[in-house]
Amino acid sequence: MSGADTFPKLLLENAARIGDRPACREKDLGIWQTWSWSQVADEIRALACGLAAMGFQRGDKLIIVGDNRPRLYWAMTAAQAVGGVPVPVYQDSVAKEMTFVVDHAEARFALVEDQEQVDKILEIRETVPRLEQIVYSDPRGLRNYGQEFLHSFEAVQEKGREYDRANPDFYEASVADGKGADISVMLYTSGTTGNPKGVVLTHDNVMRTARNNQEMEGLNADDEILAYLPMAWVGDHIFSFGQNYTAGFCVNCPESAATVMQDLRDIGPTYFFAPPRIFENILTSVMVRMEDAAPIKRRLFHYFMDLARRVGTRILDGKPVSAKERLLYALGNVLVYGPLKNTLGFSRIRLAYTAGEAIGPDIFDFFRALGINLKQLYGMTEASVFITVQPDGQVDTETVGVPAPQVEVKIADNGEVLFRGPGTFREYFKNAEATTETKDAEGWVHTGDAGLFNEAGHLKIIDRAKDVGKLVDGTLVAPKYIENKLKFFPNIKEAVAFGHGRDYVAAFINIDLVAMGNWAERHNIAYASYQELAAHPDVLDIARQHVEQVNRDLAQDPNLGGSQIKRFLVLHKELDADDGELTRTRKVRRNFIAERYAELIEALYSGQDECHVETEVTFEDGRKGVIAADLKIVGAETFPVAAELKKAS
């Protein structure tokens, strides 16, 4: 393996080793403009020297704002090459957020994509006097911006080439000066509360995690990846920058945010990452489009998709499958799976990751059934992404896999997941207090997530650590975990589980008006409002079945088996951000709800099987009103927990 310990050095290596292989592409002017490694090396050299010529010092920060563009990726390495630190910023962040980052990072230089970003910078410039020079990549519309501190990318590179001619050994020297322990990038994570924190990652962090994962998954220079997620997000930094360099594969930048899907189809990446919601959207669009297909096609599609759901994942995991079904699957591959993957651009995928939140089993299975090797991983910025990864053939929706190579993971007494490894961040920039809070003396990092290992040694994330509670008998209760399980049923829109300090777990449920509405129509059940439907006995029954299904699942898990739902009720109104019950990002605000519906909770834990409630609500038009209801409280069957069974036998 290569001896380079910084990305600029690695760049030179790649240029020498695989100089004529494509390093990055961008869909521009109708075709995929391609740059080989040696071309990239020259571009970066010119840019780096240009920055230096403009007075960019070692340790200086370079703010980078814009969509995924080769030039912006080059800017990162260029900054590193002259001992600086790239600070990518979310391109959609408003002036205020940007002000904080620019100011906090003490940046003197910014390299941005286009007029839009330039305008944003100019807007905040007064408030961040430290910012001196701005470089823009796309000159469109910037002709009449006379400011002397604005420079076009080309101009800087031109300066750079002159400077390089003037001091021929400057570049090599300054690259050589770089150490693996140097800071390679600063990524600002938007914490739920308070200001963003600047996560400081060193070359070692990024490079070693990137390499470890690359070796684990066997990524190589022939792979193709589409860079479409924000450059400021650690995932993109590892996949589209770090591994781009370590594995030497080609990074492809879409023409524009609007054309991502088309470009995805063009490129047909072999290595792909997307958060669950994207997979969900794709699945939905597939289903919607298939609805308009001719009946024969539709039947064909559904027949083979069912088959795939039965055997597809098994074949993928190399589990035994009957010859007949293999044959049918092969046929389906010709008729449905192949074409489908083709139109989605997934034909060539060898490795696909998803992470960030729990993914619905049916979504996850859909793609795996098609033969796409989709896996979950668990990671965070502070770890340079990889904490745990699912190894091939050991994939399921429940877990997030085993610790990544060279990463140690342990569960604290309070159930919190701790890790330490090569990717562990150095510190939060200018925030020692937060650093010590998160990272203890031995280098263990507190993830803030509660989790546990199953018997197979796979980590299972159950909830935010602070939300995990205990029943009076000490059994672990992970409300979010339970709620997610409930929400995976299409019929259930929201759920809120309680149990901390109680004798058993109880839950509020919101039915999904669309899904249940359809069901009601099919069984011609008339209803005038959400409230009326929600109160319907059959609906309650369905809800109960779902709850009991969840209980069954829970029973499988020795640790969480105790937290089965004994009693629940279906709320008389939909939880609503306007009423402050949800955050704007539709996360339940459990404490607020707990206060607001105190009497309902009491009812759940007192024996009564009905409860009257009056709630003030805010309508779309802002008027306030009160709705009253008598809610049935339903009891659900619970099941013996697996482990206990073992004990018994």
Binding site: I31, I267, R289, M290, D292, K297, L335, P339, L344, S347
Partner: protein
């Protein structure tokens, strides 16, 4: 359904503008070519060569030419028969005047001569449009046939007024005359079609092709962009006539071997080729081939069906055949005015989107 386009991205305009940008298409074409070049000659016999394959190829060539004029440049012409006659007689005169001249050269020269004639008769297109022009081109049809019939020099003063192709060989292979092997003549014709099919494609996808289409779609706007109608139309007539001339040459030299102008090149030839172009698809190279195939095969099938199967008297069968041809043509114009090419296009789109409807 069979397409796998994901990952077939284009990194240069060159590849982006290639004739078959999609790999699967390239495979299919390659397959067809292989069959046409290697498989067919093995199983070919006189009947297949003379009744099916040669006419198919030669008419495809003519249709290609006419399509350039009508489909791409929008100038209707009913003079095809006449121009084919020019090609035929030109090759006759050349090959009899210079017996040692290579047949390929002869045919190409005949094409050039026809091109010149075509330009001459194309001149009216500068002043008149649409059906006026169509009718005007009939003049060339009648005049040329009359000329070759009247002026004995054209058929070397022989008594019959017929022209007969003497045996000629190319690179040692006999191409014309009764002893010519069907496989050889077939390959000879095939070679011409493949090369000139490619050439036609290259012309129409480049500057000149766009020039023609501009004139076709909106001549005024075209002129205001700097397209010179004279150049555009004349070049279209020239190229088109060249193709038709070569087709006429092949028609006489390798297929018929002997021809009598008034019946071999009468106005029905003009219509037949025009039908091929329309049924195949205006403004489509592929269409020219499909159209030719259809109108060559259909009568044969009809005839075989009626005479051999139903045992209808040949003469009646002839009438029925004419009628049915008429019916079929009308039917086609009604169901798909844009011809086979469009049908193929639609099918292809469906295959590419499969399993999705859109």
């Amino acid at each position: 359904m069979l397409y796998r386009e994901a990952g077939q991205f284009k990194t240069s305009y060159d590849t982006d503008q290639s004739i078959f940008p999609i790999r699967q298409d390239r495979w299919v074409i390659a397959l067809y070519m292989a069959v046409a070049i290697f498989a067919v000659p093995l199983m070919i016999n006189d009947y297949w060569a003379n009744a099916v394959l040669l006419p198919l190829l030669i008419y495809a060539m003519a249709a290609l030419g006419l399509n350039i004029l009508v489909g791409y440049c929008g100038q209707i012409s009913l003079g095809t028969g006449g121009f084919m006659a020019v090609g035929a007689f030109a090759s006759f005169k050349l090959t009899t005047a210079f017996p040692e001249l290579n047949l390929i050269i002869v045919l190409l020269l005949s094409g050039c001569i026809t091109a010149a004639v075509g330009v001459l008769f194309g001149l009216p297109s500068l002043r008149i449009k649409g059906f006026y022009l169509a009718v005007a081109t009939l003049a060339s049809q009648f005049f040329l046939v009359w000329l070759f019939n009247k002026v004995e020099w054209f058929y070397n003063y022989n008594a019959t007024g017929q022209i007969t192709m003497p045996p000629r060989d190319v690179f040692g292979f006999q191409i014309t005359g009764p002893e010519a092997k069907p496989a050889i003549t077939y390959l000879f014709a095939l070679g011409f079609i493949m090369i000139f099919g490619l050439i036609a494609k290259n012309i129409v996808r480049g500057r000149i092709g766009r020039m023609w289409m501009a004139i076709r779609d909106m001549d005024i706007a075209a002129e205001l962009i700097g397209v010179r109608p004279l150049m555009a139309k004349m070049s279209a007539f020239a190229v088109s006539s060249f193709y038709i001339g070569v087709a006429g040459g092949l028609y006489f030299t390798v297929w018929l071997g002997a021809a009598e102008v008034t019946e071999a090149f009468d106005i029905n030839q003009s219509f037949l080729v025009l039908f091929m172009v329309i049924v195949g698809g205006l403004g489509s190279i592929l269409g020219s081939f499909l159209g030719a195939a259809f109108l060559v095969l259909m009568p044969i099938l009809l005839k075989n069906f009626m005479v051999d199967w139903l045992g209808v008297a040949a003469v009646t069968a002839k009438h029925v055949e004419i009628t049915l041809m008429g019916v079929l043509i009308i039917f086609f114009l009604i169901v798909e005015p844009h011809g086979f090419a469009r049908l193929w296009q639609i099918l292809k789109e469906k295959l590419r989107l499969w399993p999705f409807p859109y």
